[in-house]
């Protein structure tokens, strides 16, 4: 066990965990940030996606010891008032069905738009292909990313 100082959503937080603990479980079990979801544990489904210095990473396979001073953003910290253009677009397009994968979808999309503010439909699909939505809400996810890209 070791104490890890983490910068999460602009706050300095501390977790006393083993060095190989994946960030996902540090967030959920130790920091009370449960918006980031467990889906597969092997970086295949994207439900656990967070940002590390603005880039999308799979937190289920990222050991806490590898984070260092990198800034972590989770769905809870994506915007102050839940008004990131993607979060607004998710409502506007009425995307969620069960909703479980959506935090990961939004975080993947947010990293994409940061890097490429006006992606083509193919570019959106290419990036979002890594996130599974078992309800099959893909059409609306794609549409919402496109809509948000017009508002950024």
């Amino acid at each position: 066990m070791a104490k890890y100082k983490l910068q999460v959503n602009g706050k300095n937080l501390e977790a006393d965990v083993a060095e190989d603990t994946p960030l996902l479980w540090v967030l959920r079990d130790h920091l009370g940030l449960v918006g980031t979801k467990y889906g597969c544990g092997i970086a295949q489904c994207g439900a656990c996606t967070v940002h590390l210095n603005g880039a999308a990473v799979r937190s289920c396979t990222l050991p806490v010891s590898a984070i260092g001073s990198s800034k972590i953003t989770t769905i809870e910290g994506l915007s102050e008032n839940g008004d990131h253009p993607l979060q607004l677009a998710w409502d506007e397009v009425d995307v969620p069905q069960c909703g479980y994968c959506q935090a990961g979808q939004i975080m993947t999309a947010a990293a994409l738009l940061k890097q490429n503010p006006h992606p083509t439909t193919d570019e959106i699909a290419g990036t979002m292909h890594g996130n599974i939505c078992r309800c099959g809400a893909y059409h609306r996810i794609r549409e919402a990313v496109k809509l948000a890209s017009t508002k950024i």
Partner: protein, 716 residues
């Protein structure tokens, strides 16, 4: 504040509670409440798993209440069998079951609000109308808000009967209304079972036998117990539970847990199942499900016989939120919290397990991160209950994805043999279907089309009992049967030299004019969706893509689909799916479209990519690296149409899924001349081989190719 039980609104007197009392009691019972500030609180009793019930149920109440939707607050009710009926999510049955009850609940409150206003203004109630949360006197222009009237209204006698709105006056029903949970979902609020954390709560994972047909022989838990953070290792039934305080510590301890297993039943592999299917198709003793006319004579006299077999693999439900449940068994009562499609069953099971009365147990229903039928089972809530009882502590049991995929309750594997007898004019005079299932119950739907449309018909089943557990998987049985049957009917139409759509329409017409035996589906509704999808897709007239048709009746609703396939790099690609749905009244157009589009994506994905195979009783796929689900690049364009016929809602959570596989397979046949006879489609040669020639010149027969070109489609 005015409150009353909405399911028994006619019988129960309204209960007036003060604001503080209401706030405290709302989470426990079935009240529709109107606060003096006009806020309307509606409880939704059925579990929400993505079918959008948390929005559509309150919409129905609010419609009849004539409420201002922007002032409606929606809450998920806990299990309350005294106040609610059928708190179940399954069988596409919630809206059909509750439609009238919900409307009555809203209309009753509206009636009472009008009476209160009439008394206040000293006018006849007949003169008053309502709109957006106000009672209005159109003569005087006076209006009073529901909030202002709530207290007086609560004293009005509850009417025995109320008049419901004419559907032409609907303001909410039929409109696209956004999911009430959108913001909570998009901001990561703790809505799901996995998000439940309680003070002093322990966490646990359970090592279950990895192979079906095995049981624990011995357990060496010493190393696991010595791992950091591990509180206990508990063996109960065939489970080894590792108990700790954090997930990762438990996961690590699990890796050093040593459990030996021994045989306790048949150990089966997929290769065994393939043999079992073939043997039972030939020699099994069938259960006759339906027999009309004289099948033998029909086949003896046939000018042509078409015979074909179809097979489907086991499937995992794989909801994105894995199984989990929280239980706290205390001496004075039990608290259960978690994602379940059947909260009442979770409670009655817990009562039986613990030997206590049901009224000592509360069940809080969290949002479900998908269900697809998996959460109709109570195995995972029972485990949590039992473990908490052993530990005498609150505990949340979490399954890993591997546990979920290896842990059973799958869509059963089935093989069908279809036979059709055609006369010289290409009319189908005889029809036989024998379904062999592995723990499938009844793998046929003997009264579905084409039953009733063929004079001589035999539907029979043979069952193989296996240690591999199965369960209802979205659109149980029909999720595969529809593909097999609709592909076969396409084969028959082809053999008869008839257009597939016209062939079905002729059969339906025949069922109408000269029905053979009992007809248990609505022929006109089936004809309706068939014609609608043919029209919208430009069936038979469209250039470009290759079209395949399919129509199916399931769960009271009717859906017809046309899939369009194009050839890309000599492989079929599904470009578009048209759907025509008759689910009766559409409650929420946005949610309804989601169910249809999601159902098609689900049906397409599992038909194309997914299979769960077994080696020595163990699943060969354990996670999403080898168990392939559909992803964004794989989706076709989808166009949905609804029949507007004013029939009361007949359900939509499942009916859009069954027709997809057949429509796609039939389109692939048009494009390639190859009939795909088993799922997943991507295992078929048509997706593996590099075709040097144009599809139309390809013979339906399999062409042997050099080994190097038989590359498997890699799971992404």
């Amino acid at each position: 504040m005015l409150g009353f039980s909405w399911f028994s609104a006619e019988a129960k007197a309204p209960v007036v509670v003060d604001a503080a009392g209401a706030g405290g009691s709302l989470g426990f019972n079935s009240y529709l409440s109107i606060a003096t500030d006009g806020t309307i609180t509606i409880l939704s009793p059925n579990p929400e798993l993505g079918q959008n019930i948390l929005t559509s149920f309150p919409m129905i109440v609010a419609e009849e209440l004539d409420a201002d939707w922007t002032k409606v607050k929606v809450l998920q009710a806990a299990l309350d069998t005294k106040s609610f009926e059928r708190q179940v999510t399954g069988g596409s049955g919630a809206v059909p079951h509750s439609w009238k009850r919900l409307r009555n609940a809203g209309a009753t409150a509206r009636h009472m609000l009008i009476q209160a206003a009439a008394k206040k203004w000293n006018v006849s109630a007949e003169e008053l109308t309502t709109s957006d949360g106000f009672v209005i006197n159109s003569k005087t222009g006076n209006k009073l808000s529901y909030g202002d009237l709530a207290e007086e209204a609560s004293k009005v006698e509850v009417p025995k009967e109320v008049k419901l709105k004419d559907r032409k006056d609907f303001k909410l029903i039929g409109k696209a209304v956004k999911n009430v949970a959108n913001k909570d979902i998009a901001t990561g609020k703790p809505l799901f079972g996995l998000d439940v954390y309680r003070e002093g709560m322990l966490q646990a994972m359970i090592q279950r036998p990895p192979a079906f047909g095995t049981k624990i022989k011995s357990v060496d838990a010493a190393a696991a117990k010595a791992m950091p953070g591990i509180i206990d290792v508990v063996i109960f039934r065939n489970n080894v539970a590792i108990v700790g305080k954090s997930t990762w510590e438990i996961m690590k301890a699990r890796k050093v847990l040593k459990v030996e297993y021994e045989k306790s039943g048949n150990i089966e592999s997929t290769a065994d199942h393939d043999n079992i299917f073939k043997t039972l198709l030939e020699t099994g003793t069938p259960t006759v499900r339906r027999k009309d006319g004289d099948v033998e004579t029909a086949f003896t006299n046939a000018a042509k016989v078409v015979k074909s077999e179809y097979q489907c693999p086991f499937l995992s439900h794989s909801p994105m939120e894995p199984m989990n449940f929280f239980a706290h068994v205390r001496p004075d009562g039990v608290e259960l919290v978690g994602p379940t499609q059947v909260p009442a069953a979770a409670r009655s099971d817990a009562a039986k397990l613990l030997g206590i009365p049901e009224d000592k147990i509360t069940v809080e229903i969290t949002r479900l991160g998908g269900g697809f039928g998996r959460r109709l089972k109570t195995d995972y809530s029972n485990e949590a209950t039992e473990l908490s009882s052993i530990l005498k502590a609150p505990v949340k049991v979490t399954w890993l994805r591997e546990d979920d995929m290896m842990g059973g309750s799958y869509r059963p594997a089935v093989r069908y043999r279809f036979e059709a007898a055609l006369d010289a004019n290409g009319n189908m005079t005889g029809y036989k279907c024998r379904g062999v299932g592995i723990n499938s119950g009844n793998p046929t739907r003997e009264d579905n089309f084409p039953s009733g449309a063929v004079e001589n018909l035999l539907i029979e089943t043979v069952e193989h009992a296996s240690p591999i557990t199965t369960g209802a998987w979205r659109a149980p049985i029909t999720n595969f049967l529809a593909y097999a049957e609709q592909s076969f009917l396409d084969e028959v139409a082809n053999a008869a030299g008839k257009d597939p759509v016209q062939f079905r329409l002729a059969l339906l017409q025949k069922a109408k004019t000269t029905p053979a035996g009992a007809i248990k589906y609505d022929i006109d509704r089936m004809i309706g969706v068939t014609k609608l999808v043919a029209e919208k897709s430009g069936w038979g007239t469209k250039k470009g893509g290759f079209q395949g048709f399919s129509v199916y009746f399931s769960h009271r609703s009717y859906v017809a689909q046309v899939a369009e396939v194009i050839m890309k790099n000599n492989k079929p690609v599904v470009q578009k799916v048209f759907a025509a749905c008759d689910c009766g009244e559409v409650v929420n157009l946005s949610g309804a479209r989601q169910q249809v589009m999601g159902g098609i994506v689900d049906g397409l994905g599992h038909a194309m990519y997914s299979k769960l195979s077994f080696k020595d009783g163990e699943t060969q796929q354990k996670n999403f690296d080898t168990y392939r689900l559909i992803r964004m690049r794989d989706i076709p364009e989808i166009e949905t149409h609804f029949v507007d016929n004013g029939i009361d809602p007949t359900g939509l959570g499942e009916p859009a899924l069954p027709p997809t596989g057949g429509a796609v397979a039939n389109a692939i046949f048009k494009a390639t001349g190859k009939r795909i006879k088993s799922q997943p489609f991507t295992d078929d040669d048509v997706f593996k081989t590099i075709r040097a020639t144009q599809p139309k010149t390809i013979q339906p027969k399999k062409t042997p190719l050099p080994k190097s070109s038989l590359k498997r489609t890699k799971a992404s």
